[in-house]
């Protein structure tokens, strides 16, 4: 575990130095700030727009950062062949993967905190108070990022950089739309299609579980039990993805 933590802190420091990480983060912070431009709307509408744009922005940019961070942290080791040096030392592959996961998660946590700080400041300026729901929405976005980081590591363990990027982005979009697929299949009368869609629905990570931002933006409250269940779902899925990552990585020749 200590070795994993050392690798994790190292990955975190390397990530902070990445130009792609810095640029995406700066761009995200600028976008959040620009939601102030809706000043032609009524105050209530303006607040709703700021919440929608900011929470969606945090999710989209955090997902991009999560994919880039996790992918780069693993792929760089393969491409520069530093992985051979690392694994020649008394270090288990599972510790290496766990370290990469911890480092990427630390970097994503920092970016989510920074974006949430800008968002909270905007809300405080507008309504002079913060609702608990905004923290719940941000917390679930962060939980979603744990899954994305683990999935990216799993794909990057066996695939090329380009494939990893495209595949995980595709998974991110699909994970938001599996519910629609299920709904469409239920309207079709084909039982085979319905069964297949049901399996697909259960296997593909359901990122809609984490999406409470649309409801929070219009003042709907979300129960603690829902937050805990969804966080539990995120943790289990993260564990599955890390197991998959380890599975692929164990059989990789380095």
């Amino acid at each position: 575990m200590v070795k994993a933590l050392i690798i994790g802190l190292n990955t975190f420091r390397e990530t902070l130095r990445l130009k792609s990480y810095q640029i995406i983060l700066i761009f995200a912070l600028l976008l959040l700030g620009s939601s102030q431009l809706f000043s032609f709307l009524t105050p209530e509408e303006q607040l709703k727009m700021i919440k929608d744009v900011s929470l969606s922005g945090i999710e989209i940019f955090a997902a991009l950062l999560a994919i880039f961070t996790a992918m780069t942290s693993l792929r760089n080791e393969f491409e520069t062949n530093t992985i051979s040096t690392l694994l020649s030392k008394p270090l288990r592959r599972s510790e290496f993967i766990l370290g990469k996961f911890i480092g990427s998660v630390l970097a994503i946590t920092l970016s989510v905190i920074l974006m949430a700080a800008v968002f909270s400041t905007l809300i405080l300026i507008k309504q002079h108070s913060l609702e608990a729901g905004l923290f719940s929405a941000t917390f679930l976005i962060w939980a979603e990022m744990l899954v994305i980081v683990a999935l990216t590591l799993a794909v990057a363990a066996f695939a090329s950089t380009a494939f990893t990027l495209i595949f995980v982005l595709f998974l991110f979009l699909t994970g938001h739309l599996t519910g629609y697929g299920l709904e469409l299949a239920q309207q079709a009368k084909n039982p085979l299609l319905q069964a297949l869609t049901k399996i697909f629905y259960k296997v593909i990570p359901n990122f809609e579980n984490f999406a409470i931002r649309d409801e929070i933006a219009v003042g709907v409250s979300v129960s603690l039990s829902y937050l805990l269940k969804t966080f539990g779902y995120g943790l289990i899925y993260t564990f599955i993805a890390l197991l998959l990552c380890l599975y692929f990585f164990q059989f990789r020749e380095v």
């Binding site: 032609f40 709307l41 209530e44 509408e45 709703k48 727009m49 929608d52 744009v53 929470l55 969606s56 979009l173 938001h176 739309l177 519910g179 629609y180 709904e183 469409l184 629905y201 259960k202 296997v203 359901n206 990122f207 809609e208 579980n209 999406a211 409470i212 931002r213 649309d214 409801e215 933006a217 219009v218 003042g219 709907v220 979300v222 129960s223 039990s225 829902y226 269940k229 969804t230 539990g232 779902y233 289990i236 899925y237 564990f239 599955i240 197991l243 998959l244 380890l246 599975y247 164990q250 059989f251």
Partner: protein, 233 residues
């Protein structure tokens, strides 16, 4: 551990975790339905891809459409706003403003442009129905009960229904004017005792501008039996 043993154990662990995830997902789905977070599929001709991509970001899609509503409103193109209200409320049924503004546009702005009485009544009914649909989606807030009550009170002059919806609005946390309007609706509906009781409640409540109004209304009601200036003058 041999490679084969590692492979079998990993696969077994992954299958086991998916078996745990399945009922958890069912439970999350059930809770989302109970909280009114159900998925709504919106497919418009020619916009399928856009809707699917925005599927995960319905709030943003609703905001973009709402900006279009704002632009059409300021250019007086009221009829063009109607499909947008339908789309926004479909995408984000818990967003109160489009229900309230949509109902108001139909019952007020569009109905006054009608060529005849029949068309006018058609648009007023559409506005009322739209607000009632909004209440079905947001039964836990005062806002749309009040809007519908106001439309019955001010536009339709159906005071019995106005009282019904203002009373429903008064069951939830609300601003002070809701009780004031409820008292007026009682009076218009001939429920003078209830009107007096409501104004007395406002008078006993916190110090707001509505306390002065309540005092004035009570004095008029007790003296003349009505609060309408034109009636007792």
């Amino acid at each position: 551990m041999s490679k084969t043993a590692f492979r079998s154990r990993s696969i077994a662990a992954i299958i086991l975790l998916f078996l745990i995830l399945s009922p958890l997902q069912d439970s999350i789905d059930l809770q989302r339905r109970r909280m009114g977070f159900e998925r709504r599929l919106m497919l418009m001709p020619g916009q399928v891809a856009g809707n699917l991509i925005l599927g995960g970001f319905k709030g943003l899609a609703a905001d973009l459409l709402w900006l279009q509503v704002e632009s059409l409103f300021h250019s007086g193109q009221h009829y063009k706003m109607l499909p947008l209200f339908q789309s926004i409320t479909f995408l984000q049924p818990k967003f109160i403003t489009p229900w309230a503004v949509g109902g108001w546009h139909m019952a007020y702005n569009i109905s006054v442009k009608a060529k005849n009485e029949e068309e006018k009544q058609f648009w007023i009914k559409h506005g009322v129905d739209f607000l009632a649909e909004g209440i079905k989606n947001n039964p836990e807030r005062y806002d749309l009960y009040f809007e519908l009550g106001w439309t019955y009170f001010n536009k339709v002059k159906d005071y019995a229904n106005a009282v019904k919806y203002f009373e429903l609005a008064a069951k939830f946390p609300r601003p002070e004017y809701v009780d004031d309007v409820l008292a007026h609706a009682y009076e218009e509906n001939g429920q003078i005792k209830e009107a007096i009781a409501t104004w007395e409640r406002i008078l006993a409540g916190p110090d707001t501008p509505f306390r002065q109004i309540a005092a004035r209304m009570l004095s008029r009601l007790k003296k003349y039996g009505t609060t309408k200036v034109e009636t007792y003058q």
